[in-house]
Structure formats: structure tokens, C-alpha cells
């Protein structure tokens, strides 16, 4: 076009970033890549697959297809490297991470271009967002590596960590996985996404340049089968996965009972809540950043717009106008807002979902903007006339489509926002600090952005609530996901069996007494009307307890679900009540000690000691209740980023079979001190300590439903508990036989499970802080400011 013509039409022209260096690099490898194992390129045993550019279908390279044998080699290489890596000083590991940060910066441009070639995202994003965040992640974690011994005393690395990453932010997800794992002293086997392996392969060369010891980082490319092999490998201590909720559930089930730890960063349908007192023009740009960032292929995309009814039409009109300005096309063009979807499969899936939404009655609006003739492109869309019952409101589209609904009041906004199986992120727009912070506190999301969206930083933990997964990546909270307490016992936990019943009748003259469940602040009989005998260590009948069944669990969970006031109560109030429980337990110390002695057959001294320790533990939890503070992070923007510890909600607790009182209170009180409501299945061998204990609770002003106790056979009750979708997490310390079942069943709603993994727990010297961490999830709230 001539200068004169352009002077007249004032259009934009092409501004293509050169791909020459990236293409030359691919050529230098003959466009064929092996696996990176033990610091060397090694042939894949499973053959190869092709990586193509989704923007134009061009072949990029042949990629090694790792199979189970390759995974085994990589895990062995990692295991071999582990000892030496862990014996390095913190400073030595920090220097390696620092070197990687520097190298990423020095190769920023070629990495950005490779990312765009492979994934289809606009070069502006790979250049200005992805790659700078990658470097930042390595810098930040070089710092944690340096500080590991001081800041994480009492913890040790997990071992070999298997990592599986998605195709939407290929190198960034690699950084999120590798940097903290290495900083904590772990070694890794990482499987990049099938669509987007190239930057990970380039990263291997950076590892060589940085002199990362052989085997510390292993990259095995491949497909879903490769990932399965990694998940199944016995020598893996942890799987860190980012991807779909479906695969997250698969991994949960596959690893059930294996003792492998999990961090899952899964899907989302994150609300974007817009109030009428917001800066609406800025909010419109926020929406652009929320859903038209990375083609909408973002797990935390603000894909559900909730707008106050009075401004809804104005907002939709402004939005349509803004959408007409979006430019779609060659992702290497610096003037492009939306590039290509990552693969044709993805394109068809997104289109099919949108078609379904329209079939269900949604109105779709798409701007009249030109698309390239070929490549995986799709016009962005705004879907209105849609409501919570619509598929597109419930399900993640993972493409550039926004669904929009209106609300009337803040409480309705929250009700709509939280009406989701997911809980990854939320964006809240209001100039009223009261409204904004109230929403931030109420919304179920791991990350909340006030008057902003899609802000990321290595210093702030990222991760979800509910079916968006668990564990955090980034910040101090992320480091805990890569470590375990160093004091864990390695002794297998046995299965406790009751003593043999010698006499079936109670002692003469005693009034017959059957302990009941404790549900919703009341003692209640078993739903099935049955009871089961409790046998003392000497074989005498200690009494009977209610024989819990599915319905008792249901009732207990209902009661706990309703007791929301406890989670909202002030920490001071919770502390007061917990102290009072300790006070009242003290009064009945002798009675409880006697009970423990006769039930378990332990010495009087040990039984008294267990009661004393229980009282002390309750005191410790009361003490912590108003001190388990969050943090204020320091991301490199002008804002306050608050990391708040929030309770999981309704927590299932399966108490140990031994230590009938201390084990019980060690689990209940950290949970309720942090605001959870609990459903407790006490020891099924010695349940009377729990049933005696609820009398203490009854006299201590504990609100109804905060603690609910259901007695009965642990394994069966635990299974029902783990099948209940209102339950957000389970602490399973009971009969080791049910660990696998509980973990497997929990996958359906991705409950957070914490178990003894079949090993003994040292209740006498347990660190309550570990329990507090497990009882909470971190919510990061970003609050930019500026008068």
C-alpha cells in the first residue's frame, strides 16, 4: 500500500516479528528432537509425533514420543541425581536457579517467538507476559532456594517430582513447576504438552548452559500415554499437574493409596463481577484482559461476566464496540490481539460448545472482523440471554467466548459467582472499597483481582478452591507444596482390632447407657436404630455406641454445612470458645483418663498424660485461632496483595484408632480454630472418649453444627464421607485399609485429602502449624491502588 493511500485510510499495516532465529534453531536440530534425560539427548523409544504451527498448519519439528520405558529411565536418572542435588548448599542451588533466570532473559526473544510459533498466541503476549514471568519465576525462586534452610526449617524435599503441564502457557507452566521444585531441593521429570513442546526443548539447552547437574531436570515429551506412565511410576513422590479437571480427577484416582502427593491446577469458570459504581471503561478493558487474553485459553479467564442490572445494556454496548476493535490474525504480527487456538481439535471443541449454547437459547454476538483464510482462528463472542442453568455458564469453554448475566444486589452477585463447581479466580470491579472487599472475602476463589484481572507474579500463590484444584504455585504458600515435614515417621501403622468380648452384660447395678451421635449440637440416635458394643481392653463391655450409617453422615454434613456462622465468626470468639472447651475438659480430666485407661488398657499415668496433652493441644489451637495470619506479598506492581488463610469449609475427620482422645482433639481443634466445621468419625475401637467428649462440647457454648460426631465402622463411614460433595476436605488418620478408597472417592469433587499414608503419626509431638496449614487454603487478593 502506498504512503498516500495509508495517509488517507490510516489503517494498521503488518508488523511481523522475525521468526528466523527460531526457525534456524529448529533447523540446527534437523527439526527432530529426542528426550532430555540425565542431561543428555536420548532417543525416544515410543517413536515420534509432529509439532505444527496452529496459525498456518506448518510443520515445525518431529518430537520424541516417550513411553513407559523412557519415563522409567528419566525417573531413574532423577533418583540418581537426587542425593547430590540435595546435599548441595542452599546457596549452590540458588546459583543454578539464578543462572536459569538470567539465561531465560538472555534468550527472551527466541523463546517468545518459539512459543508463538508452537502455541499460536500473539507475540505481544509471549514477549511481554509469558517470558518475562518465566524469568521472574526463576529469580523469585532462586531467592527461596537461598533461604530454604532458614525459612523452611523442619521441612525436607519430597524427592522425584513428576510434572505434567498444559499447552496454553507452555514455558510459563514449566517455570511454575520446575522453579519451586528445584528451590525446595527436589528433582524433576517434566512432560510438556503434546501440542507445545518446543520451548521446553529449548529450555533443556539453557539447562545445559547453566550447568544444571545431570538428571536434576528431565524433560520427556510425549502424549497422554507418556503422562499416564509418569503418574503410574512408583518412584515418584509427587505429581504436579496443570490441565483439565477431568485429567485431574484421573490422576487423583490413579494415585489413590500410593502416598503420592498432588498439586492440581485445573479448570475454572471465573466470575468477573461489575458493579455500577465501577470505572466502566476500565472494566471493559479488564474484560478484554480477562477473556480475550491468550484466545481465552486461560484456566483463570474471567469467562462469566456478572454485571449489575442497571448498567448491563450500557456495558454490553460498550463491550460490542470494544470487541469490534480486536484484531485477529498472524500471531507473529505485533498488532494482533487474538492469535490462533492451539490446535484444530481445540477449535472444533470450542465451536461445538458455542453451538450447543446457542441451541440452548443463548444469543451470540461476534464482531464483524476479518479472519485469516486458514489456521485455527475463531471470532471472539459475547453470549447473552443466558442463565445459570445454561451449559455454557457451568462449563469451561476455553476459548474467546464470554457469557454475561446480570445481578441486582451484592448478595445476589456472590450467590451467582459461587454457583459453580469451580473456584479458581474472580475479578471484582467497584470503586467502593466496602463492596470490593466484601466480595473478595465472600467469593470462593483462590485468586481475587480487585479492579484488575489476570495479574500474575511469582511472589503470589496461584491456585484454586473446589474443583479448580489444590495446592498453590508461587510465593511461600507454593513452596510448602514442594516440601514435607522432616519429622515424619516411617513406621507402618497397624490395624487395631477390639479386644475379645468376655462378658456381654454391664457391671451389675449400672444403668444401661448407649452413647449417641452428636449432630447439629444435639445427641441423636443412629438413623438405623442400631448400636454396636464397645469393648474394654480387659474384654468387659464398656458400653454401646450408635452404629452410624450413610444417613447419619448425611445429617452430620448437613448440620456442618449450615453452621456457616462459625467460619464468619471473629477469630477472637473462636479462641474464647476453644479455651472454654479446654477449661471444661479439665474439670472432667480424671473421668476421661479413667475411660482411656479402661478402654485401651494403658497405664493410669499414660492415660492422664493423654488427657493433659489433649488439654494442652486445645489451648495451643485456641492460642493460634487469632494468630494464624496471612501475609502481604510484594509483587512488582503498585498494590497490596493479601494472602488470606481461609478455612476449607466442611471438613471430614477420621480420627486415629489409637490415641482416642489426643488424636481426636489434635485433628478437631486446628480445623475449627481456623473456621472449619467438622464431621468426625472417631476411633471405632475406642469411641467412648469421643462420646464423653461431646458432653464437654455441649457445655462450652460451641455453636451447633461446628463439630459433629458420628460413631461406627470407620472404613464404611469414611467412604460415605468421601462421596459427599458438600465436604471440601478429609483428614484421614483412621484404619489404614480405607486410605485408598477415601482418596479414590474424593476425586469426584476433588476434595483435599490429607492422610497418614499408612504410617504412624506421632501425636505426642505433632506440630500444630502443619495442621493449621492443612486446614486452610490461601486466597490471594490483589488490590491495586492509586488516588
Amino acid at each position: 500500500m502506498s504512503v498516500t493511500e495509508i495517509f488517507d485510510n490510516m489503517e494498521y499495516g503488518p508488523a511481523i516479528e522475525s521468526a528466523k532465529a527460531a526457525q534456524d534453531w529448529l533447523d540446527s536440530h534437523d527439526r527432530s528432537f529426542d528426550l532430555f534425560v540425565a542431561g543428555k539427548w536420548q532417543k525416544a523409544s515410543g517413536g515420534s509425533f509432529k509439532s505444527t504451527n496452529p496459525a498456518n498448519g506448518e510443520f515445525l519439528a518431529d518430537i520424541g514420543l516417550g513411553n513407559a520405558g523412557d519415563i522409567d529411565k528419566a525417573v531413574k536418572a532423577a533418583s540418581k541425581a537426587m542425593g547430590k542435588w540435595q546435599s548441595l548448599s542452599c546457596h549452590a542451588r540458588a546459583k543454578y536457579l539464578y543462572a536459569l533466570a538470567r539465561l531465560v532473559q538472555k534468550h527472551a526473544r527466541i523463546l517468545a517467538v518459539l512459543e508463538t510459533l508452537d502455541n499460536g498466541k500473539p507475540i505481544r503476549e509471549s514477549r511481554d507476559i509469558d517470558i518475562p514471568l518465566v524469568a521472574r519465576h526463576f529469580y523469585h525462586h532462586a531467592g527461596w532456594a537461598q533461604l530454604l534452610d532458614d525459612e523452611f526449617a523442619g521441612f525436607k524435599p519430597l524427592g522425584v517430582v513428576g510434572q505434567i503441564i498444559p499447552w496454553n502457557f507452555p514455558l510459563l507452566m514449566l517455570a511454575w513447576k520446575i522453579a519451586p521444585a528445584l528451590a525446595a531441593g527436589n528433582v524433576v521429570v517434566l512432560k510438556p504438552a503434546e501440542y507445545t513442546p518446543l520451548t521446553a526443548l529449548y529450555f533443556c539447552e539453557l539447562c545445559q548452559k547453566a550447568g544444571i547437574p545431570e538428571g536434576v531436570i528431565n524433560i520427556v515429551t510425549g502424549d497422554g500415554e507418556t503422562g499416564k506412565a509418569l503418574v503410574a511410576h512408583q518412584a515418584i513422590s509427587k505429581i504436579a499437574f496443570t490441565g483439565s479437571s477431568e485429567v485431574g480427577k484421573y490422576i487423583t484416582r490413579e494415585t489413590a493409596g500410593t502416598g503420592k502427593q498432588l498439586t492440581l491446577e485445573l479448570g475454572g469458570k471465573s466470575p468477573f463481577i461489575l458493579f455500577d459504581d465501577a470505572d466502566i471503561d476500565s472494566a471493559i478493558e479488564g474484560i478484554v484482559d480477562a477473556i480475550w487474553f491468550n484466545q481465552g485459553e486461560v484456566c483463570c479467564a474471567g469467562s462469566r461476566l456478572l454485571v449489575q442490572e442497571g448498567i448491563a445494556e450500557t456495558v454490553y454496548a460498550k463491550l460490542r464496540q470494544r470487541m469490534s476493535k480486536l484484531r485477529i490474525g498472524n500471531p507473529l504480527d505485533k498488532t494482533i490481539d487474538i492469535g490462533a487456538l492451539a490446535d484444530e481439535v481445540q477449535l472444533h471443541q470450542v465451536q461445538a460448545m458455542v453451538d450447543q449454547g446457542v441451541d440452548e437459547g443463548a444469543s451470540l454476538w461476534q464482531p464483524d472482523i476479518t479472519l485469516p483464510n486458514s489456521g485455527c482462528y475463531i471470532r471472539p463472542g459475547l453470549l447473552t440471554d443466558i442463565d445459570p442453568a445454561s451449559t455454557l455458564v457451568q462449563e469451561e469453554i476455553f476459548g474467546p467466548f464470554l457469557v454475561a448475566m446480570s445481578f441486582r444486589t451484592p448478595s445476589e452477585a456472590i450467590a451467582l459467582a459461587n454457583n459453580s463447581k469451580y473456584g479458581l479466580a474472580a475479578s471484582i470491579w467497584s470503586e467502593n472499597i466496602n463492596t470490593a472487599l466484601d466480595m473478595a472475602a465472600e467469593v470462593k476463589a483462590g485468586v481475587v483481582w480487585i479492579n484488575s484481572t489476570n495479574q500474575f507474579d511469582a511472589a503470589c500463590g496461584f491456585g484454586g478452591f473446589r474443583q479448580s484444584g489444590y495446592g498453590r504455585e508461587g510465593g511461600r504458600e507454593g513452596m510448602y507444596s514442594c516440601l514435607k515435614p522432616s519429622g515424619l515417621k516411617a513406621k507402618k501403622l497397624g490395624i487395631f482390632k477390639p479386644a475379645k468380648l468376655k462378658t456381654t452384660s454391664p457391671k451389675p447395678g449400672q444403668i444401661d447407657r448407649t452413647a449417641k451421635h452428636y449432630i447439629g449440637g444435639k445427641q441423636c440416635r443412629a438413623d438405623n436404630g442400631q448400636s454396636i458394643p464397645v469393648i474394654n481392653a480387659d474384654g468387659s463391655l464398656a458400653g454401646e455406641v450408635a452404629d452410624g450409617s450413610r444417613k447419619d453422615i448425611r445429617n452430620a454434613v448437613e448440620a456442618a454445612t449450615r453452621a456457616t456462622g462459625w467460619s464468619r465468626a471473629t477469630a477472637h470468639l473462636r479462641a474464647q470458645i476453644i479455651y472454654y472447651i479446654a477449661e471444661n475438659l479439665q474439670i472432667r480430666a480424671d473421668e476421661l483418663a479413667n475411660r482411656i485407661r479402661t478402654m485401651t488398657g494403658t497405664s493410669a499415668k499414660k492415660a492422664s498424660r493423654e488427657v493433659e496433652q489433649s488439654i494442652e493441644t486445645i489451648f495451643t489451637c485456641a492460642a493460634w485461632a487469632d494468630k494464624y495470619d496471612g501475609a502481604v506479598h510484594s509483587p512488582p506492581v503498585r498494590n497490596v496483595a493479601i494472602a488470606m488463610n481461609e478455612p476449607l469449609g466442611v471438613l471430614g475427620i477420621v480420627a486415629p484408632q489409637d490415641n482416642p482422645l489426643l488424636g481426636l482433639v489434635s485433628l478437631i481443634f486446628p480445623a475449627i480454630a481456623t473456621g472449619n466445621r467438622v464431621v468426625v468419625i472417631p476411633s471405632d475401637i475406642h469411641p467412648l472418649a469421643a462420646t464423653d467428649f461431646y458432653q464437654v462440647l455441649e457445655t462450652s457454648d460451641l455453636p451447633a453444627g461446628v463439630v459433629n460426631i458420628v460413631t461406627g465402622e470407620q472404613c464404611a463411614l469414611a467412604k460415605t464421607l468421601s462421596q459427599h460433595d458438600e465436604v471440601s476436605g478429609i483428614w484421614y488418620f483412621g484404619n489404614p485399609q480405607a486410605v485408598k478408597t477415601v482418596q479414590y472417592e474424593a476425586a469426584a469433587n476433588l476434595k483435599q485429602i490429607w492422610t497418614h499414608d499408612g504410617f504412624e503419626t506421632d501425636w505426642q509431638s505433632a506440630d500444630i502449624r502443619q495442621f493449621l496449614r492443612k486446614a486452610t487454603q490461601v486466597k490471594n487478593i490483589w488490590i491495586p491502588y492509586g488516588a
Binding site: S2, E5, I6, F7, M10, G13, D279, D281, S282, P784
Partner: protein, 317 residues
């Protein structure tokens, strides 16, 4: 393109009070608007030529003389070297700045020096730059400048009115100025660097438009902070709202501190993205600048020859 002149509207201060500008969000948009778009090669040349037509070539110094103003006028007649225009194939575009902007004292000199060129003369008026001389003298100054041949009048507002929320006072002031302008177009300088917040900037923008401004302008060039992208964004969003409410298109003039081609292009991208191509015409977009022209010339020479140009090869502004 025919621009219907803004008649102003009855004051609606309820509207003014509902305006909310979130500074952090505006800054984020301003920071990315220029990383989302760029112009290269022929597009860069064309956009820079357009930028010249948007310039209010300005000299507002205490030491201005008739000679200095005549030199400025001569530069306005020939803003780019003929060989560069020829190399770019744009000799016929008749590129010249949007106006020449001077103090009242030099309006006559400028008008005479530009005679026959079609380039209008703009005068800064109303006790520039503080705007605090008696209202009568400020109004009289406008009338005298118009009488002397100024087609455009740049006035400054009284900042205290914004800082204390005296929207009625501001409205009346601009109405008076507009009346005194007659046919001459009125540009209202908000002196945004002295308004404290972007909320104030946006609200003052709206009041000025309600009172009949043809253009709203950021700065006198004499405040500590002049035209910035966040300020521009806050103002042009108000222009968009006003247009949507009334159907009248108001012009925008950033001024002060825009001295290189890259910055000028950034402002143009902002105009195109937020308001559309109409607002790239000199009827609706001006940049108050002087040294900017030299830098644009150098970039144009680079576009034409592929060589980086020396400053001393461009005729002095």
C-alpha cells in the same frame, strides 16, 4: 468530513458526579495500548505525515519575537524537506501543521506570515498560563485575538474550580469564553498536571464540553506534568461518552512534552483505538508541540532513505 460544532448542553452535574476513574486500571490500559499496536515501514511514514497535520506548531516563550514567529511560520509552510516528500511520493499531499499557536501579541505577525497558506493561527488566551487575571480582561483578550485574525483560541481554566468542585463556576467560565470566541474555535486547557486526580481530569473534561468546548486540551506546557497517556485516556473516554450522549464530536489536544515521533504515534494509536479514525483528522486531533516536528522529519528521512538522519540536516523549527 464535516464536523457539526458542539453547541454545548445544559449542565448536568449529576452525570459529572457519577464519573469514576480508576487510576491503576487506566495506567495499565495506557501502558499496553501502545504495546498492542505499532506501525512500520510505509505505515509509519504515512502516520508520521498525518502527525504533522495534527501539530499545533507552537511557540509560547517569554522571549518570542516577530522574527522568531516568522521563522516558525516559514517552517509551517515547508514542514518537510522536498526531497524527502518526493522520495516518499507524497508531494501532492500538501502536508502542513494543523495551526500555528502563539501569544496574542504575535497573532498579527503569524497571520501575515501565513497569508495564503491556509494554515490557521491559534492564540493562547485568558491570562495564559495561570488563567487568574480579571475575567473582564480575559474575555477582552479573546475578543482582541479573534479580531487580530486568530481562528482558534486556547483558553486555560481556573484550576481552583475543579479542585473545589465548583462545576457551575467552570461551566460559566467556559460558556463566557465560547461566547467571546464567536466563530473562532475554542480549545479548553484543563492544566491536568494541576488537577490532582484523573477523576478531576475526567469531570473537568465533561463540564468543558457541556459548556461548549470545541476541543479539550491537556496542558499549557507550563505545568510540572504535561500530556501523559493516562490523562489522555481519561479525557478521550469522556469525549466518547459525550459523543454517545449528544452526537457531537469534540476534539482532543495533548500538549507539552510530546517531542519525539514515537510518542506522537502512541497518542495517535490511542485516538484510533479509543475513538476511531475520525479523531485522527486535524479537525478533531491536535498535538501542541514545537520540537516534535524535527524528530518526525528525521524519522521520515529514515523511512525514505533507510539512513538515520542528523538533526542539523533538518531546517530549524
Amino acid at each position: 468530513m464535516i464536523i457539526d460544532r458542539n453547541p454545548g448542553m445544559k449542565p448536568d452535574f449529576d452525570w459529572v458526579k457519577t464519573i469514576r476513574v480508576n487510576r491503576s486500571a487506566v495506567e495499565r490500559r495506557a501502558a499496553t495500548i501502545t504495546t498492542r499496536r505499532t506501525v512500520k515501514q510505509n505505515w509509519q511514514a504515512a502516520w508520521l505525515l498525518r502527525a504533522i497535520t495534527n501539530i499545533d506548531l507552537t511557540s509560547l516563550s517569554g522571549d518570542d519575537t516577530q522574527g522568531r514567529i516568522r521563522r516558525l511560520a516559514a517552517k509551517a509552510r515547508q514542514p518537510v524537506r522536498a526531497d524527502v516528500l518526493k522520495a516518499l511520493g507524497v508531494q501532492n499531499l500538501n502536508i502542513h501543521p494543523g495551526a500555528l499557536c502563539v501569544y496574542h501579541q504575535f497573532v498579527k505577525t503569524a497571520v501575515a506570515a501565513l497569508d495564503g497558506s491556509g494554515i490557521p493561527v491559534a492564540a493562547v488566551s485568558t491570562g495564559f498560563p495561570a488563567g487568574l487575571s480579571p475575567l473582564e480582561t480575559r474575555i477582552r483578550e479573546i475578543e482582541l485575538s479573534v479580531a487580530a485574525g486568530a481562528c482558534e483560541i486556547d483558553i486555560v481554566i481556573e484550576r481552583h474550580m475543579v479542585l473545589t468542585g465548583d462545576w457551575q463556576g467552570l461551566y460559566d467560565l467556559v460558556c463566557d469564553a465560547r461566547k467571546a470566541c464567536g466563530k473562532a474555535h475554542l480549545k479548553v486547557i484543563l492544566a491536568t498536571g494541576e488537577l490532582g486526580t484523573l477523576n478531576n481530569v475526567a469531570r473537568a473534561s465533561l463540564v468543558a464540553m457541556m459548556a461548549g468546548a470545541d476541543f479539550i486540551k491537556t496542558s499549557t506546557g507550563k505545568e510540572p506534568v504535561n500530556a501523559t497517556l493516562p490523562v489522555a485516556l481519561s479525557m478521550v473516554r469522556m469525549i466518547r461518552d459525550y459523543y454517545q450522549r449528544t452526537g457531537y464530536r469534540i476534539g482532543f489536544k495533548p500538549a507539552g512534552g510530546i517531542s519525539d515521533a514515537k510518542t506522537a504515534l502512541n497518542f495517535m494509536i490511542l485516538m484510533k483505538e479509543e475513538l476511531g479514525n475520525d479523531w485522527l483528522s486535524p479537525q478533531l486531533f491536535r498535538i501542541g508541540a514545537s520540537s516534535l516536528l524535527s524528530d518526525i522529519e528525521r524519522q521520515l528521512e529514515h523511512c525514505a532513505t533507510g539512513r538515520y538522519a542528523a538533526r542539523h540536516h533538518q531546517p530549524l523549527v
